[in-house]
């Protein structure tokens, strides 16, 4: 029997608000965060986005970080989310814990690189942002803000990064490499990937409609979210009450295409069945699925068919909360882990906004939301290259 892993803290910032309370309120009231571009300096104003509704300067002030310093948007959002998670888990504690930070990101400091790239090449005016470009730099900025971590790692598997960071956190805990792990991800919107996604023609010019027959693409989002993970013994010793268990997790490769999912969702099928196996749960015990559900034609069909393969005729309530937050790419798995935990603890199913017409290929329609009492929630996060991860969160009682 493997040692159980508990979640003792959760922090989040996304298009629908700063913190768990704001996130919960928005989900319950059906308030999305998709809007015209306001903070990103782009000419691509035709695409609505799920921006975090704070400027970098405002986030610096919230954190007490010098506004003139070298801090990227990804790092600032990461600090805000990690701070909330740490506070809930009452960390730092007595100083005896070995705490690891595992963070997922892909664009890292790209927001500054795309702004200053010609300066990088041609003069010495913005050198400090060169070292801030890469993924690891963002994680180290977050780590150094707290000065708490004895081990720091960065995962970059595109849109499944944060979910994979949570998996790696579980591996480290079970191997005794850390007493407490802070795991999740952070990612800001950049012109780089807004335009990149546009070249792939997968952005919707309207607010996105996951799992709708008329869906026309995704809205890019941004944000950060982290969970604090630890063993039951560690939580008891530190006197913190677990929010839930991380009961199952699995990653699988779709091994099909760099930017498209296989028609039958092979990777998604394997990650969901793998997570159920590690949790020791039957499909019928899952009370809610927080789907990857980007709103692209390809993802929602592939994921929907994979869900049908796993759950057969008894598909539990499924919703994609990307209609609220947009697709927060590397942070999405973290944001949706927090949303899954909120659903578990507060007994509700977040609605799949803007759904009107069922997909003819699927036997199920996404959830309209409302009260429910899921005991186990499954969260999917799928990345470019067919990097598919499923996490299961379970009630502790």
């Amino acid at each position: 029997m493997q040692e159980e892993i508990f979640v003792t803290g959760a922090g989040v910032i996304s298009a629908i608000g700063l913190g768990r309370q704001a996130t919960l309120a928005a989900l319950r009231e059906g308030r999305d965060g998709i809007a015209p571009v306001r903070y990103l300096k782009t000419s691509r104003v035709e695409f609505p986005v799920g921006e975090v509704k704070f400027s970098n300067e405002e986030m610096c002030r919230l954190l007490g970080v010098p506004e003139a310093g070298v801090t990227t948007r990804t790092s600032l959002m990461g600090m805000i989310a990690a701070r909330e998670a740490l506070e809930q888990a009452r960390l730092p504690g007595d100083g005896g814990e070995r705490v690891a930070l595992i963070s997922g990101t892909t664009v890292g400091g790209m927001d500054k690189s795309e702004q200053y790239y010609l300066d990088f090449l041609e003069n010495d005016s913005r050198n400090e942002y060169i070292s801030a470009h890469d993924c690891g730099a963002c994680t180290e900025m977050i780590a150094d803000y707290f000065g708490l971590f004895s081990m720091v790692e960065t995962i970059s598997t595109a849109c499944s990064s944060a979910a994979n960071a949570i998996m790696t956190g579980a591996l480290l805990l079970r191997a005794g490499r850390a007493d407490v792990v802070v795991a999740g991800g952070s990612e800001c919107i950049t012109k780089f990937h807004l335009n990149g996604f546009n070249t792939l023609m997968i952005l919707d010019r309207e607010p996105c409609r996951p799992f709708d027959a008329g869906r026309a693409g995704l809205n890019l989002g941004e944000g950060a979210a982290y969970l604090v993970l630890e063993s039951g013994a560690s939580a008891r010793r530190r006197g913190v009450v677990p929010l839930c268990r991380l009961s199952g997790y699995a990653n699988a490769s779709d091994a099909f295409h760099q930017t498209a999912s296989s028609p039958g969702g092979d990777g998604a099928y394997l990650s969901m069945t793998g997570a159920l196996a590690t949790a020791g749960l039957a499909p019928g015990e899952i009370g809610y699925i927080n789907a990857h559900g980007t709103g692209t034609v390809n993802n929602d069909l592939s994921e929907g068919l994979a869900i049908q393969r796993v759950f057969g005729e008894r598909v539990p309530p499924v919703s994609s909360t990307k209609a609220f937050t947009g697709h927060a790419t590397s942070a999405a798995g973290g944001v949706e882990a927090v949303i899954s935990i909120l659903a578990l603890r507060h007994g509700f199913i977040p609605p799949n906004l803007r759904f009107s017409t069922p997909m003819p290929e699927l036997s199920f329609a996404p959830a309209a939301g409302g009260s429910a009492a899921p005991r186990h929630v499954l969260s999917n996060s799928f990345g470019f290259g067919g990097n598919d991860t499923s996490l299961i969160f379970s009630k502790t009682d």
Partner: protein, 345 residues
Amino acid sequence: MTREVYIRAARQISVQLPLSEGWMDAPLYPEGPYARAVDPDYRHYFAPNVARRLGKLLKRALLTSRLVMEESGVSRPGAIITGTGLGCIENTGIFLDALAREGEGLLQPTHFMQSTHNTISSLVAIDARCHGYNSTYAHKGASFECALLDAFLQLREGRVETALVGAHDEMTPDYFVLLKRAGYLGHAGGFSGETAASMMLADRPGDGALCRLRGVELLYRPGAGGLRRALDSLSREAGVGLDEVDAVMVGANGHPPNDRVYGEACPLLFPGKPLLRYKHLFGESYTAPALGAYAAATCLHRQRLPAHLFAGEGGVERRGVRHLLLYNHFENKTHSLVLLSACGG
């Protein structure tokens, strides 16, 4: 019950002769601060359309991966894990350059599609039709050690039986200029290189494993006490005393602020131990430590340490090697320890 971990096969493409252990007896010493890898003739290995479609980094990663899979007789590894500091920086740079110079109007999808860090791991999985665990670590100079630790822990605990670990970083002329400005590359006394190293790890030796992987420690801003504790823990868990370690291989690269950290830590942590180096052969790159591990594994397999690996003057070739310890740091923030042992040792 934890399991043993073996390195069954390892291959490299770097500034040394590609896919060769020629560096042991006839090392190349590139001139100047910036050297590209010596690429093999990919026409021998790939169909023309594949070779055309993939950038250099992806070709190197795919070829070294295919070869270690073939040599170890593992066609579908249980895990494919890549470390890369910068990912596909050539494609990223092309897209960024176009964005900066021409604006948002005329961008093409190809470079974006092959710009994410996990393009590498995904490509290998797609090529091998491998549906197993797939991950990518991108943490500056510790990217390889993050990947190695993940594989090591999963193998030790029996989650997988085989794991393909890759470490891949290219360095374009443009990005060399950037990292020189940032103070990381371009110093006198060393040079910037490129890394493509793949290795097959397994819980069984198979036919002729190169060496055993005994432990991996990864630390952030550890201080002297933290390093000492990690070393003790590594030694205890592996059952190998520091007195049994033949030599310590370090990531000295000729740049004083980098080398000073080793100069201060090594006499305290490993008093009297011979120090080995590898960046004088392979150059500096975010994932260069993988080439250090590859070199150490090769030395353990061949049971000799060439004279040129010894740090300082007057190195003498040594035969018979049982345990090698690798110690790397990056900017004195991330520190790593990796212990390798000969298969009979």
